[in-house]
């Protein structure tokens, strides 16, 4: 009787195959682990320095980002939340919350006067490509630069065509969900930050 005719053969067969497949995957994951961790670190570092005024340049290499982030940016722990800041006391405030499909994570930069926004960036999002994912695009993010928080510490999203004041941002057409959620995420984070730094 050949092994292939045994009743137990399919079980043995799938077991061996599974063993080989898992070994390959575990091997590949181990092999790239360092790279993946480094990518995550760089993504956060890049996001932070993008929102702080005047330290980010276009086309920076990963090594440069790493260097600038380590040298110029300081970390503060206020009420269990980490904020990053520079010597001139501009803050990078973490923003985090539920997007349309998955969490949106990023930073918003606020200058010394605690009112003027110096930039916004995201390092994690999974919004609809072509619609919600447009929040990653320079055109959308640039709108925030120089905008001021309103008296109650807010930034408002307006529809296309509405008149924009210095507290307003034009939302993305066709991505209503992402826009409303992002507005909420930003305003909640700013509220939290204002509360934390005032104590």
């Amino acid at each position: 009787m050949k092994i292939i005719d045994l009743k137990i053969y399919p079980v043995i067969y799938i077991f061996i195959l599974m063993f080989i497949a898992s070994s390959i995957i575990i091997g590949a994951a181990k092999f790239t682990e360092k790279n993946v961790k480094m990518n995550e670190k760089i993504a956060i570092g890049k996001s932070v320095i993008q929102v702080l005024p005047e330290i980010y340049k276009k086309n920076m290499t990963n090594a440069e980002i790493h260097k600038v982030f380590n040298e110029k940016v300081k970390k503060a722990n206020i009420h269990n939340t980490y904020y990053y800041f520079t010597e001139n006391q501009s803050y990078a405030i973490p923003i985090e919350g539920k997007g349309f499909w998955a969490p949106i994570k990023g930073f918003i930069g606020i200058e010394q006067d605690k009112k003027t926004i110096s930039g916004i960036s995201f390092y994690e999002q999974n919004e609809t490509p072509g619609l919600g994912a447009e929040i990653m695009k320079e055109n959308f993010r640039r709108q925030f630069n120089g905008k001021k928080l309103s008296a109650d510490g807010k930034i408002n999203f307006k529809r296309k065509g509405e008149k924009l004041s210095e507290h307003d941002i034009e939302a993305i057409t066709g991505a209503t969900q992402t826009s409303t959620r992002l507005e909420k995420i930003i305003n909640n984070s700013i509220k939290e930050w204002l509360k934390n730094i005032s104590n």
């Binding site: 292939i4 053969y9 399919p10 067969y13 799938i14 195959l17 599974m18 497949a21 390959i24 995957i25 590949a28 994951a29 790239t32 790279n35 993946v36 990518n39 993504a43 499909w101 998955a102 994690e124 999002q125 999974n126 609809t128 490509p129 072509g130 619609l131 994912a133 057409t173 066709g174």
Partner: protein
């Protein structure tokens, strides 16, 4: 191996038996990832890799695989290749991995992969299976490329991120619906209609 030759497999995969407009397989991903050309191309590259290699592996193992668990074995092999792509993208192209999000993992459930394993690889030699998988994936790629070009140009005024003359100017009112899910249905239906009409005309 009777009746199989290189040219026939090529024409079958790309045209007479195209996975999108003849077999109508893999429509889910066709609808999901075709609103930006660059994302589409990376997705297609991942699919070409997966289909060819999993068809090859299934064919190579076909004499040892018990018939009653062949589907399980096929899924396992497909998953293996997809996870490898996912890991590689995460490590070496994190931006693209971010853009594609869950879609890479969903290649596992792409009907084309399983379809080709069942229809061809399980009963043919590894060489034929590899070619068959490769050309089928190429047939899928060329239709997806067409769809995504139309959608991105009409919907966003760009092609692979590069602004197009006229379409990116204010004279062109962007068809937002093109980048939204319904746009995919319209464009896909038009393309299937067009391709099928050409095919039927030829047969007559």
């Amino acid at each position: 191996m009777n009746g199989y030759n290189h040219k026939k497999i090529l024409i079958d995969g790309l045209w007479t038996n195209n996975p999108i407009f003849c077999q109508v397989l893999g429509i889910c991903s066709t609808l999901a990832v075709t609103n930006l050309v660059l994302n589409t191309l990376v997705m297609c590259a991942a699919l070409i890799f997966t289909v060819s290699l999993s068809a090859f592996s299934v064919a190579a193992l076909r004499h040892f695989t018990p018939k009653n668990i062949r589907m399980m074995v096929e899924t396992l092999i497909i998953a293996l290749y997809v996870i490898i792509i996912d890991i590689l993208l995460k490590a070496y192209w994190p931006e693209m991995s971010q853009n594609l999000g869950p879609y890479v993992g969903l290649v596992i459930t792409n009907c084309i992969v399983m379809g080709r394993c069942e229809a061809c690889a399980i009963s043919n030699s590894p060489k034929i299976a590899l070619l068959d998988g490769f050309y089928n994936a190429l047939g899928y790629t060329f239709i997806l490329f067409l769809i995504s070009s139309i959608r991105e140009i009409l919907g966003m005024g760009t092609f692979a991120g590069i602004p197009m003359p006229f379409f990116s100017t204010p004279y062109w009112d962007k068809w937002i619906i093109m980048v939204m899910p319904p746009g995919a249905f319209f464009v896909l239906a038009m393309i299937v209609w067009l391709m099928r009409s050409i095919q039927l005309k030829k047969i007559k």
